[in-house]
């Protein structure tokens, strides 16, 4: 399709010094009719167009419209764009229908989720009754069910190649399973079972090597070929609830323990690196897949903390909006946003550099959300909750699914940019920010606002009535870090 940029060039004026075509005398020799030769001196200005400028090459082409970009012909650019932005914002809210599907089939609360590293359609989930299910997202069906453990399935993770996956459970075992189901007539059996001495509470697989890490009393690094850990690291004596490999610098691990600390390990040197103690317990952490040194911790004090692992004494950002303990967090594969699941029956999406969430998802039936994952194409979010369902959400609430035509895409982009441009205007801002919330969360927010306000007031009063400098102003980011242990 040829599409030249036709600027405001009007029809061409041709100066014709001779007879115009229609007037031509077919036989001037006869000269009985028609104008005399004197007419040949007449100057006629004629309009002529080049058909290249307005004829389509094929039928499928769009009609070419000549445009004149003279600004005087298109007045009121700011007001017009403002109205467009306002409309775009309203439509975004009207079309915001993020909920896609609910995958039901578990007979107990969903305790853990795992993504398939090679396939977008496959999702693994472990429940509180020891059952593991493999789901097909396009069909929204469970394709396989395994009774993997007795008691909870505490952790589940897929191998980096996607051929097998590992589970740990309350029955002190680590099991490796094949991703494909057993053949006809075969029993559903794990490839490998390791019986440990203590309960394992979490598992994560290395991103490149046949190595996985479990946590419980200590962090163990296992070679897949061996039944005893290659090395085990501990620092302090408390149960560790989650361990995660860094996806970029793969030898670094992060773990969080129930004595309120987050510990970083170096697998190559088999030593812990540093420990940071927060106000309350951290439930899990997640590494940023695009920024090697950033990770986010989901904390019991309703907040999430993004840390730079080289400077643990102050988080880079404190993300607050939840009104109950945050149970899980997962980064978008683009590394620009993350999603958090909370005990307050909602999930929220935070931009990495913002302290407030940009989106909150909830449904009437969704109970405490225990685990959440962002799919690896960064378009969807899955969350598993207490009431045995896995829910599938759009990451962008008002996004249109399916194939978009190029014009649709362009319009979309334009609307996005308009919203961005006019985001500070009060009407646009208000409409874009508006979210419906269940009563429980709403009232909680109000309550917490009052509490925060009164705390702030008290501190101010204290500062006012004490010696200057004796009650220093502590920034929100510094407030929650108790200590950093080397």
């Amino acid at each position: 399709m040829r599409r030249s940029h036709v600027t405001g060039r009007g029809p061409r004026k041709a100066e014709v010094a001779c007879l115009p075509e229609g007037w031509q005398n077919p036989n001037p020799a006869r000269g009985s009719w028609g104008p005399r030769p004197r007419a040949a001196k007449m100057k006629v200005k004629m309009l002529s167009r080049n058909p290249d400028n307005y004829v389509r090459e094929t039928k499928l082409d769009i009609q070419r419209v000549p445009r004149n970009y003279d600004p005087t012909l298109h007045p009121f650019e700011v007001p017009r764009e403002y109205v467009r932005a306002l409309n775009a914002t309203k439509l975004e809210r009207v079309f915001a229908k993020p909920f896609l599907a609910s995958l039901d089939g578990h007979r107990d609360g969903v305790n853990c989720l795992a993504k398939h590293p090679k396939s977008l359609t496959t999702v693994l989930s472990g429940a509180c009754d020891g059952e593991v299910k493999i789901w097909n997202l396009t069909r929204r069906k469970c394709v396989r069910t395994i009774q993997a453990h007795e008691g909870f399935v505490r952790g589940i993770c897929a191998r980096f190649c996607g051929t097998s996956f590992f589970t740990v459970g309350d029955d002190k075992t680590v099991k490796q399973w094949k991703m494909d189901g057993p053949g006809c007539g075969e029993e559903e059996e794990p490839l490998q079972t390791i019986l440990g001495k203590t309960v394992y509470t979490g598992i994560d697989h290395h991103w490149k090597d046949p190595v996985f890490a479990t946590c419980g009393q200590q962090v163990d690094i296992w070679d897949e070929q061996r039944t005893s850990p290659v090395c085990s690291m501990n620092w302090g004596f408390d149960s560790i609830c989650s361990v995660k490999f860094n996806p970029i610098e793969t030898f670094i691990l992060g773990s969080c323990a129930s004595d309120r600390n987050i510990v970083l390990y170096d697998m190559r040197q088999a030593t812990p690196l540093k420990k940071v103690i927060l106000d309350m317990r951290t439930n899990t952490i997640c590494w940023n897949p695009m920024e090697a040194f950033h990770f986010t911790a989901a904390n019991e004090d309703y907040n999430l903390y993004t840390f730079d692992m080289r400077a643990l004494d102050m988080p880079v950002q404190v993300h607050m909006d939840h009104v109950s303990a945050v149970l899980d967090v997962d980064y978008s594969p683009t590394g620009k946003e993350f999603v958090s699941a909370s005990f307050d029956k909602s999930i929220r999406i935070f931009p990495v550099e913002r302290s407030r969430s940009r989106e909150v998802y909830h449904t009437k039936r969704m109970q405490h959300v225990i685990c959440v994952k962002w799919t690896s194409d960064s378009k969807y979010i899955m969350c598993g909750s207490d009431e045995m369902n896995i829910r599938l959400w759009k990451a962008n609430a008002s996004e249109k699914l399916g194939v978009l035509s190029s014009r649709e895409k362009a319009a979309n982009d334009y609307n996005q940019k308009l919203k961005e441009k006019f985001q500070y205007h009060p009407h646009v801002k208000r409409i874009a920010r508006h979210r419906h919330l269940p009563k429980s969360i709403y009232s909680q927010i109000q309550e917490q606002r009052i509490m925060r306000e009164s705390r702030r007031r008290k501190e101010m009063n204290r500062r006012k009535h004490s010696k200057p400098g004796s009650v220093p102003v502590v920034s929100e980011r510094k407030k929650h870090v108790v200590a950093v242990v080397k």
């Binding site: 599409r3 940029h5 970009y69 003279d70 298109h74 009121f76 700011v78 764009e81 309203k90 009207v94 977008l120 290395h206 490149k208 190595v211 290659v230 085990s232 996806p247 970029i248 610098e249 030898f251 170096d266 190559r268 040197q269 088999a270 690196l273 540093k274 897949p289 695009m290 920024e291 090697a292 040194f293 950033h294 080289r310 909006d321 594969p333 683009t334 590394g335 913002r354 407030r356 969430s357 940009r358 690896s376 960064s378 362009a410 334009y414 308009l418 006019f422 500070y424 205007h425 009060p426 009407h427 208000r430 409409i431 920010r433 508006h434 979210r435 419906h436 919330l437 702030r456 080397k486």
Partner: protein
């Protein structure tokens, strides 16, 4: 003490016993000598022990004849076991004998060697290990800093990040493989090769290039000569300048300066004749220089020189003269130029600027229509000038560039011409106004008198009103309260989402949502007006009382607060106060010596009132129904007929406030749509305005520019898995060895872990 001594003695004894070849007449050590009683007993014991050695029951249990704290598990008495064996003890007996020098040497060598320190305890060792490992790891991680920075600032990121290897081979390689097959191809090929025609980018043959590069000999010579000449001239000029600079005579410099000034004036005159535009520019430059001079403190009598001269002026005529000169200069510089306010727009904009930093608002300034956007800002160029003057600026939005690129150069040129014309006209107008100002002095006076009489009438009317409606008066304290309440409480960080328990689903509801926000906004101005009225009342009252007196604004503005004299206060203090007041007055007088502030203010107010009055609409068309022509004007009758009188607007809010101008151009309906505070990343309102003013839609931009302007920041492809960033993606080398192999080849740690493992298996 005793115990240790005894132990030493015993040791010595045992040594004696063991070293058989010691001479028997070896004198007893001093320590032994001292402990008599003890020694006796020990001797006995030793003898017994020796005796028992030879006997049958060699391992006879030792009898305990004394109370001892230290009872060994084995039967040997452990007396003295807590003591350390010092080397000196061993050496002592050896001293006298010369035959044992070798042993002595050996022993002394041992003595000179130092023992190793105690190893650190386990916890500390581990801590050191951790610290070292941490610093190592953070060093490894810091290589990602630049990548992270780059990705965060990127205009557009396309995921997945890993790129397909580019399959483009350089065209030379493609040609190498290609061979001419058909006869036509061969012919073309031959032709190309004959001329050595390059196939790739540089389209000139080597010969052509060489010929282009070459320069004829004559040309080169001429060029060289030129260069030489230029260099020589430069050096002469420099030398001259240096010489001139060294001349110390003040008179000479004065003359030079004067000459220069004269020359400049001459030049300017000439320029004005030849090129008026350039002359205007020149004039502007001069004006600017004057302004700069005015701004500086050079002629303000505050310098060291000026002060010294002021002291000397009494006695020295010359100094007095110099000072006068300087004063004259100062006066000339600080003389205020009459600047005609161009239009109401500028003044309004400036007033509003501080309150509402927004392009939108400025646009609204011009029109009172319900839509803030109804009128475009027509004083854009002026704004642009301001922007250029503005301090730090964000990088200009891309739209600007595009509009320039895509061929708006022509209109711009036209704009320039227009601008110049405008400027000329403006300057002309200024000159004429100045002349007018200079001529009639009395005219202005009459105008002020008019205003004064008007004000008087107004105030009388008001006082009557007041008497008619005797409302309970509100205390000024209340107004203060009101004002305080209006101030918004300091807010903490605003949440991104506005959460509420009811759902908004339809467009209409969203519409409502928008309106809700502007409600408090509407209330605000109302409250302000109320406050204003309340504040106004006492003033009116005051006026009412003095209705007989002639109210002069001059007095109103400069009245001094009536000082209450009490008997208790000594009069001297009052005198002092008076003096202070006089001083102050003097100061103020001096400060505003040149300009009449009050008159100016009045004039300004009159102008704003005039400008804001609704204007009549004249619909007469000259030439319709009567003769038309160059000097003919439509008849008065016709004009009267087609003149549409503008309706009288609402009374001005500041009509009763002589020293206040209330801007009535702010439209509260539009204000609801406007940004009130400068949003965060922007540092100046002009930056923000510019982002708003540049349209991004395809209506105003070409297709290409539109695409570039609306390119999203993050692009993801549906159905593609985005993997975490890898070192190879950004051009770093990842370590070839796997983490596992590195870990296993770490010998020290491994042994430790094996130990640990063993230990755990034992457990």
């Amino acid at each position: 003490m005793h115990a240790t001594k005894a132990a030493k003695g015993l040791l010595a004894l045992s040594q004696q016993e063991e070293l058989v070849d010691l001479p028997t007449n070896y004198p007893l050590s001093a320590s032994e000598d001292e402990g008599d009683g003890d020694g006796e007993r020990k001797h006995q014991k030793l003898l017994e022990a020796i005796g028992s050695l030879s006997g049958k029951n060699r391992w006879k249990s030792a009898e305990r004849s004394e109370a001892s704290l230290k009872v060994s598990e084995f039967n040997v008495s452990s007396e003295g076991s807590g003591e350390k064996l010092a080397l000196s003890d061993l050496l002592e007996p050896v001293k006298p004998s010369s035959s044992l020098t070798a042993v002595k040497k050996q022993l002394s060598r041992v003595k000179s060697k130092k023992t190793l320190d105690l190893p650190l305890n386990k916890g500390e060792v581990e801590r050191i290990h951790r610290e070292v490992a941490f610093s190592k790891t953070s060093q490894i991680l810091s290589k990602w800093d630049s990548v992270v920075q780059k990705n965060r600032e990127a205009e557009q990121l396309v995921f997945p990040l890993e790129k397909e290897p580019a399959s483009f081979a350089p065209i030379e390689q493609v040609f190498l493989d290609w061979k001419a097959r058909t006869p036509l191809e061969q012919e073309v090929f031959n032709l190309l090769h004959k001329n050595k025609q390059p196939v790739t980018d540089p389209l000139l043959t080597p010969v052509e290039k060489a010929s282009l590069r070459a320069m004829s000999l004559e040309e080169a010579k001429i060029r060289r000569a030129e260069l030489q000449r230029a260099r020589a001239l430069q050096s002469y000029y420099e030398a001259r300048a240096r010489r001139m600079k060294k001349i110390k005579s003040k008179k000479y410099h004065k003359i030079v300066k004067k000459g220069k000034a004269k020359k400049a004036i001459k030049d300017f005159e000439q320029l004005r004749k030849v090129d008026p535009n350039a002359a205007l520019e020149e004039l502007e430059k001069i004006e600017k220089a004057r302004m700069m001079e005015r701004m500086s403190l050079k002629h303000q009598n505050s310098g060291k020189w000026a002060k010294s001269k002021a002291i000397m002026a009494k006695y020295d005529l010359e100094a007095r003269q110099a000072m006068q000169e300087q004063l004259a200069k100062n006066k000339e510089l600080t003389q205020k130029l009459q600047v005609v306010s161009e239009s109401e727009e500028e003044g309004g904009a400036e007033e509003e600027e501080a309150l509402v930093p927004d392009a939108v608002n400025e646009a609204q300034m011009n029109a009172d229509g319900p839509n803030p956007w109804m009128l475009r800002t027509c004083n854009r160029d002026a704004q642009e000038d301001e922007v250029q003057a503005g301090s730090n600026e964000l990088p200009e939005p891309v739209a600007h560039e595009f509009s320039e690129n895509e061929g708006n150069e022509k209109p711009e040129a036209e704009e320039d011409v227009l601008m110049k014309e405008f400027e000329e006209r403006r300057s002309l107008r200024k000159r004429s106004k100045l002349n007018q100002d200079a001529k009639p002095v009395g005219g202005q006076d009459s105008a002020t008198k008019e205003v004064l009489s008007e004000l008087k009438a107004l105030s009388q009317k008001l006082s009557k009103d007041n008497r008619l409606s005797k409302k309970p008066k509100e205390s000024p304290a209340k107004t203060v309260l009101l004002v305080q309440e209006e101030e918004p409480a300091p807010e903490e960080e605003e949440p991104l989402l506005l959460q509420r328990p009811e759902r908004v689903q339809t467009l209409e509801e969203l519409e409502e949502l928008g309106k809700e926000d502007c409600l408090p906004n509407k209330e605000l101005p109302g409250a302000a007006v109320e406050g204003e009225q309340v504040r106004r009342k006492p003033q009116e009252e005051l006026k009412g009382k003095k209705k007989e007196q002639m109210i002069s604004l001059q007095k109103l503005l400069t009245t001094r607060t009536p000082s209450v004299t009490s008997v208790a206060v000594p009069t001297t203090v009052e005198e002092q106060e008076d003096e202070v007041e006089r001083d102050q007055k003097q100061m103020i007088k001096e400060a505003f010596a040149g300009d009449d502030v009050i008159k100016e203010f009045l004039k300004e107010k009159r102008e704003t009132i005039q400008a804001n009055k609704p204007k009549d609409l004249d619909l007469t068309l000259p030439g319709w129904g009567e003769w038309g022509g160059m000097d003919l004007k439509p008849s008065a009758k016709k004009r009267r007929r087609f003149l549409i009188k503008a309706p009288e607007g609402p009374p001005r809010k500041d009509r009763n406030l002589p020293n206040v101008i209330i801007n009535e151009k702010r439209n509260i309906h539009a204000a609801a749509h406007q940004v009130r505070v400068l949003p965060y990343p922007f540092t100046h309102h002009q930056q923000f305005e510019r982002t708003i003013q540049n349209p991004i839609g395809s209506t105003w931009n070409t297709q290409r520019a539109f695409q570039k302007l609306t390119a999203p920041k993050v692009v993801t492809k549906a159905g593609h898995i985005i993997k975490p960033i890898k070192a190879e993606d950004v051009g770093y080398q990842s370590s070839p060895r796997s983490d596992l192999s590195v870990m296993q080849s770490n010998p020290k740690r491994r042994s430790k872990h094996q130990k640990q493992l063993k230990k755990s298996s034992i457990d």
